[in-house]
Symmetry: C3
Subunit: 642 residues, 3 copies
């Protein structure tokens, strides 16, 4: 009895002591991060948490709407995507509830939430406390102790108090709160920093991505691409900010929220860590036209082994133990990408070399540098879990060289289309190439389509009335327009302005996207002949097919030659060359017609453009047999480094 | 002993009584159906069954070959697709077999059938009778009792008789028959009405789809789209009836047979209800270019949760219990689409709003009506199983608005192509646009290709002989053709006619498809320049990419922006705009050539067409720099409601 | 005791006797193979093994680099793809290790290998010896006895010796070796013949593919397509040998190595036979644009049944028992393709009829021959495991006819494009159609791209220096080039030659690919306008869409009509017809311009080309309404058998 008494109070004292002197020295968090935060490894959890939080919340360091933030407004769904900026508690629910009442009421209101939570570790902390070394998840016992240390350091848990559970109220109001929750005042959508109250190590690991990817020549901004800064990476894309189709723009945001939230991988409300170890946790986002990781993995031998046998692996084990003890037969996304030098963490960027997009300027030139070679060596170490070093190096060389081949093929096509652009010869380039995302609100009805306006106007007017009015606007300045605008200004909130300014919620002038050739925005936004078909074709070679080639190569999906990737690049090249020849033939015919019309000097002898065109004298017969002998496009422009 | 005697006979008497007064009052069958059938909820199973059967078998209400039925003949495979119309018992099997002999012989003849059946509930009714409330499938005990009530009402089961099993003979000859089966006379392929002998409730639920989807402005025919009328929906498509490539046409039929059969979802011969609760039961059909439901679901978080954990859910439970008791973590097709106001039934159309095809005329205008708002509210209720109402409404608004954006983008492209069509300027429109599916049998060798004819002729002739003859036919009227036709008519069944009529099995004149612009048949049938490439491109924007956008949005597949859907719509738009500018440039050049040829009046100043073209005076220099300053296409046509 | 003594030595004696008289009479190995090897069924395992090995290793019968072998050099990865030709033991590892030391050291060096091996049967032969008839894998006991018989016949196992295990050293050095392994001298990568030491039956079955597919009219070379000759089939493709992008070329090789290795299906290092019975074992290779078997199967009812329930089937059973005893609900790749006349073997070609590529000359004409009918009958037998014969025949007819429809559609498009080609009218055909894979090393900088050269040169020079030099080369003969080449030749290994010969590792002149129309190489290699866009489009109709149609049909993937296959063929046809009409219109306009220029005779009245063009007199009005009345292309060419 006395012994037990001693143990109890001794441990208690110990707990207090530990809390007082707790250090957040997580070996998996790299030095770079402690340096960047200007704190010491011996800092307490609270100090680390506060330092991370300050940076995390700082708009100057990537939080929030970004530099184009004034150009767009959140949608109703946005409150769930960036809660720190857009979430407001619900005004329609008046209940003020205890911890237990939350669960009780939501068992009826949203049974799925509660059913999942009841299966979770969050709802069963006692089970964790009872684990023995024989249990697969025994490691969670130490994790729980660590979490309680964190909470004590943060002042959220008493020195001798045990965390009872993690329920609705703990994440949606405050961890371990004893108060009631007022829906209209207290409810919040948890962001990553909320998870970090307990899971500080994992948050610190994830946040360390900001510090461990710094590109030698600024190919990408510091700390990117990464999960830690994926939201800012999204909202600072010009076309994101400038598109009037907000839901389409937010199609990208749907994945680009890992910066803000943890439940992209740790699916609510069970938050099963076993489940987040499976490739499916990554597949929802890492899939599709320009990041076909899921498709490539699942079609590889690795992925097929997972599909075939993965259900029998012991997912309760930590990643580090799954091959030796869990029956893991083949790599998963997690076992390769979360590993670095034999350790597994939430920093997935330390081995990045190609960064998924080989065409990004400076990327290919960087592959043979010391910076990239170190990262290659780290990859080799990863592969040697299951392959010889010789095999790994042979394959990685194969991957790199295959990617170079794709780049070279793309380059050839690029030069041809760029020459057309520099000569002003893209379809409609001189006549029908609206400025990209131009601030057109002061010009007619703005960039919203007729139908979008009709839907807006029919809140108050008939559709016919709306269309009549908008057609008058479209027809441009006229006495009738003046009259209509007078009436319009009398009754609408915003006076004196053209129709584009008529609704309070009208989109602001969009972000200025500089005019130019082969731009990213063109795969989401188009108007008239911006982009030209051949230009978009070219960009898709870079953005989609080249990526698919590289990702296929890097994930051992053999379709990279004949299904995605190379065959598609080849097709793009062929179509571009075909269009180019046809264009030259058309120009030659136009030249002949111009001569017949009496133009003395060749109209194609244009000077002053960058890509000067010289059409030699052409025989009609040649033309009629299907081709022309163009003297060739000048190639004297400076090679642009490709 | 006496007690037991009483119980036995008491129950028997009870059974008789129940059979006599049995009501088919299935709460899950909506009022609309009882009204439509003009029967009362208190009607007996037999009355309900007979009323449903009468409608089900009525060619005037959707049974059979449909209004174009005279234009096509069934294939050998068709007997399995529409057994009621095309199935005949096999003539080659002479066995007359008892219930037991069926099983015995087919254990050798087709072991898969028997092995699956032996696993089925049908083969193990005794197991059902022994279930206790502790068993997952205890609910089946009541279901069996209900089924026996149905059979008694139909006179298929004695008042005190228990159903022993459901074997080969029960479905392929007659339920609970005591007779032997003569293969050549008695064998039938079970259709939905056969299943309905026992599963009356489920059949009635399914048939209620006819009654619960009635479109405010006839956007779709009454009761469609639905499983209940999916066969008639297929065979009444003009291109289905008119295509000579019957196997291609029946590619659609392969799925469009749910009206006729139940084993599309309830896979024969195990008919496992647990299995039919899984998304795979839907995926075979609900997938592909213009109904990418499977692809979207499996790439969503919902689908990935299913892939990741679904194998651990308890599929033996009824849908209503799977979240609370079965560990279901994420929705399935079934848990959302079979649910309505908290109940699960075989009617899946009561929440339909967009009906998969946003471009169908009248659909988008209908979304904000009261009709659709009620259905939206029903969806919100569905989502609140696992989400807050606020979240659900925000997302559904997101989905609707994203779909509108796609429609607007499509509209712009549509207007451009339609203007070309109205001006007669589509490629080959005036010279090489054969009437769609024209009855060409009287013109030369008909619509069958050379090779198809050669295969036909080589039943009797050499291929060389056949080709020589057919080339003569192709070369048109000539003395040699006359001579050949004379010989031909002497020896072939059909006299006096051209070669197109020479075989008894020649296809009948196909269904008349009215000529017109951007029609459905063009994605399956083409000839010469019908359709023009730009026209097909446009239609694919509507039929494929717009649908993929909408289905992606509605199933939370984030690829809707950059992989399927929007990016593809953008691409289509860009290509169409490019072609349009090129066309205008070509017309301008032709105008210049015409002037040089001495034509005084501008040939492009055409009046009388809807989309009048006006080419202003064009400077040669402008042309040579790659564009022309067209004065613009007239936009004075009435806005068509888009 | 005496009894046991007798048993032991009796069995031993028996073993010796059996080894002495062992016959390799595997009933599953067809007569054709014994005939081809000129050995008797009663031959010993050693005789069979030696005969098979001799053929397997014979370059004259398909081993090695093939007839274009001098044109390409292996990559570092090639040593793993064709070990018999390219593998050399590692020089960097100096260890000389015992059987036990291999395992011990590699537990650290490559833990995945060892972990997988420890799960394998190879590592647990004792478990096999203890199996009883009640065990699912009891059949393995006899298999092990057979293997030991083989080894004894080969002199690899003592007459009374039992095989203890199959460890690293057994496959990577020599089976049952007692020696130490010197990494630098002894290590080998096991090829199929190594596996055949033990698994002789399976190897013989696989090798029998060479003997059981002989095409009536040489449509394919003898024994192909097959796993047994898939490597030679790959390396003897001209474009494989001729491409400078070696990694892209070897994208095909990644699958085309089944001839060389067994671990394509029997995944190393567990070599689980249960796992190789699953469709995933096939899917890695049998998928993609032109062999979409995986995609079609998984989207079929069969595949969806597998996805839904397959995890519950008993995969430990042999294929023959899986339906009756293993709960198999639906066919897998293996259960259909490895079956022949009720038996399952590693010969998968005996039912081949269409051979995946319907457009290969002579294939379609062969379908109705006796040769193919026998194979059809064998398929019908396969299907009757689960379907009636009538159903099977109806479906197979459906499949064949659907494929014919695709062929006919393709033919129409083919004729149009071929006519352009014969008239010399493909885009750039007369002006920009480089010879395919021409030996261009002596012409300028060769076929390597500028960037590829820059990367090569920057081993010694700056990129700027390299580019300056290469631009001089590109600009063609000049005094500056002479001077540069002089300096170049002074310092580079290869003297006197142009820049294309400057590096020792430069690619050899590529294999001569004859110029021609619509060739296979065009989907991987292109230059200028070879191929023309329309030509590639056409070839993709044949190589991709026609295959997808056929494979969809043959695997019951209903998307063959509207997603892959037919709809894509229709699209290709429409685009080709559109381009053809545009071309004719362009030619007509050019004719008018030529007339204006004073050309008296019509330049389109060209004689001497195969596809003679005759343009009648064209009215300008006609042209301006969007079309022209071409008098038509001559169709007098001989029909080419399609």
């Amino acid at each position: 009895m006395a012994g037990k008494f001693w143990m109890k109070y001794g441990l208690l004292a110990c707990g207090v002591l530990l809390a007082g002197t707790a250090q957040a020295d997580f070996p998996t968090v790299p030095k770079e991060t402690f340096d960047a935060l200007k704190i010491d490894r011996s800092a307490s959890p609270k100090v680390l948490h506060d330092a991370l939080l300050k940076r995390y919340m700082d708009p100057g360091q990537g939080a929030g709407k970004g530099k184009y933030g004034s150009y767009w407004e959140p949608l109703p769904i946005s409150k769930y995507l960036d809660p720190n900026n857009f979430y407001k508690p619900p005004t329609s629910v008046k209940d003020i509830a205890t911890r237990e009442q939350c669960v009780k009421c939501h068992t009826d209101e949203s049974p799925g939430w509660v059913a999942l939570w009841k299966k979770s570790t969050h709802a069963n902390l006692d089970k964790i406390r009872k684990l023995t070394p024989k249990d697969d998840t025994f490691y969670k016992k130490a994790k729980l102790a660590e979490i309680e240390t964190n909470l004590r350091s943060l002042g959220k848990l008493g020195a001798t108090e045990q965390l009872k559970e993690v329920g609705c109220i703990d994440c949606h109001v405050d961890i371990n709160t004893k108060k009631k929750a007022d829906h209209r005042a207290d409810i919040k959508m948890p962001t990553a920093d909320v998870c970090a109250n307990c899971h500080l190590q994992e948050f610190a690991e994830r946040e360390s991505e900001r510090d461990t990817i710094t590109w030698p020549k600024g190919q990408w901004p510091k700390g990117r691409p990464s999960h830690a800064l994926d939201y800012i990476a999204n909202v600072e894309v010009e076309v994101y900010a400038g598109m009037s189709q907000r839901e389409i723009a937010d199609g990208c945001t749907m994945c680009h929220v890992q910066q803000n939230k943890c439940d992209g991988c740790h699916t609510r409300h069970e938050f099963s860590v076993a489940n987040s170890r499976k490739p499916e946790a990554c597949g929802t986002c890492h899939s599709g036209a320009d990041h076909n990781n899921w498709e490539s993995y699942t079609m590889s031998k690795h992925g097929k082994e997972y599909e075939s046998k993965g259900k029998t692996w012991n997912w309760n084990l930590q990643l580090k133990d799954m091959i030796a003890k869990g029956g893991q037969d083949a790599p998963t996304c997690q076992s390769c990408h979360m590993e670095f030098q034999g350790k597994f963490t939430h920093n997935v960027v330390r081995k990045v070399r190609w960064a998924n997009y080989p065409f990004v300027p400076g990327i290919r030139e960087n592959i043979k540098t010391e910076w990239a070679e170190k990262r290659l060596d780290a990859w080799v170490k990863t592969c040697t879990s299951c392959h010889s070093e010789r095999f790994a190096r042979a394959y990685l060389e194969f991957m790199d060289n295959g990617t170079y081949s794709g780049l070279d093929k793309y380059d050839e096509a690029h030069d041809v289309v760029e020459r057309q652009y520099k000569s002003g010869l893209l379809t409609g380039q001189k006549t029908s190439r609206p400025k990209p995302l131009a601030p057109s609100v002061s010009e007619g009805r703005g960039k919203m389509s007729m139908n979008a306006w009709v839907r807006t106007c029919t809140d108050c007017h008939t559709a016919d009335r709306a269309r009549d009015f908008l057609e008058i606007v479209d027809n441009g300045p006229s006495p009738m327009l003046d009259k209509e605008l007078e009436r319009y200004n009398d009754v609408h909130e915003v006076k004196g302005g053209p129709v584009g300014q008529m609704t309070p919620n009208r989109p602001k002038p969009p972000a200025p996207v500089p005019p130019g050739f082969e731009q990213f925005f063109q795969i989401y936004w188009s108007k008239g002949n911006n982009p030209a078909a051949i230009e978009l074709r070219l960009f898709e070679m870079a953005e989609d097919h080249l990526v698919q080639l590289h990702v296929g190569l890097s994930h051992q999906h053999w379709g990279f030659t004949y299904t995605v990737g190379w065959a598609a690049l080849n097709r793009g090249y062929v179509e571009i060359m075909d269009e180019d020849t046809k264009l030259k033939e058309k120009l030659a015919l136009m030249e002949r017609v111009a001569k017949l019309e009496g133009n003395k000097t060749s109209l194609l002898d244009l000077n002053g453009t960058d890509g000067k065109i010289t059409l030699g004298s052409l025989g009609g017969g040649l033309l009629l047999t299907g081709g022309i002998a163009l003297a060739g496009w000048s190639r004297r422009k400076k090679n642009n480094g490709r």
